[in-house]
Amino acid sequence: MIDRLTDHARRVLDLTEAEASRFGHRYVGPEHVVLGVLRDGANGAAELLRARGMELEAARAELGRLAERGVVARPALSDAELLGTLGINLEAVRQRTQRTFGSQAVAQATREATRARRRGVGRVAWTPLCGPPFLAKRVVGLAHRQAGVVGSAGIGPELLLLGVLDDITEPWPRCMSNRWRRNLLAYVGLPADYRGAARALLEASGVDLAELRGALVAQVGEAPR
């Protein structure tokens, strides 16, 4: 799924993470993907958003208002800053650990410590070693599904934004609400009923979701395959 992302979409996801940390969010959600698409700028999805009056700076300010209203988390210190208050250099720990054990082992140990079947023994909500939790996984999954529908080999930024829109409308399976996840949401400062705030962000910016989706589908269909 991830490996079908184009280089351009990967850059957008890097900017997505940058937008989340710039705001002081300890997670990455669909709303940050919208910001990432806008910040990248040089893609069809951003053009469509700009044509509907959505600009990066205004959207950032809008996210700030959503945080005040408690729809998304308020700005908080990142793990690196928190550990910094204890005199621990997270980056140094990360580099040494990865050099010693390899990044694959670190990733597996992370899974082990966070959500493995440990019957509650020493289980933690999240670990600082692997960056902020990526809560927009379903966006990528739905973009992938949409790529299949239009017969596109790679997933570009346009399909990513389409994934964001589908993530808004697609109902959430019950398994997405479990104790570990609620714990994680609380840990990063999100309300328990958080389902991504892309809808709130887009609507507050005056974007008509159904109309935008139509325009995106038309654009993706026309794009060279």
């Binding site: 002081g24 700030g64 928190l82 054990f101 694959q104 082992a105 140990a109 992370t110 410590a113």
Partner: protein
């Protein structure tokens, strides 16, 4: 605007150890997350090098049953593909 506010909070917190529970408790939680992963990595490494549960437990300062309960049966391979 948010960036400035966030920046100020960061600067204050980073310069001093914080006594504000909001920051201090979150820092402890982050530290615990770090410790759990380091423990898992090193226990796995020790097992791969043939250490007994008892030897590992002694070094960690817990009982061998505690380490076994936490880590037995969920071995992952350090940095090696399957």
């Amino acid at each position: 605007m948010n960036e400035t506010v966030h920046g100020e909070v960061t600067a204050v917190a980073a310069a001093t150890g914080s006594k504000d529970p909001e920051v201090a408790l979150a820092a402890v939680a982050a530290l615990r997350g770090l410790v759990e992963v380091l423990e898992a990595l090193n226990v796995e490494n020790a097992r791969a090098e043939g250490w007994s549960w008892e030897a590992i437990a002694t070094r960690l300062g817990v009982t061998k049953q505690a380490v076994h309960k936490k880590y037995a049966g969920r071995r992952f391979r350090l940095g090696r593909s399957r």
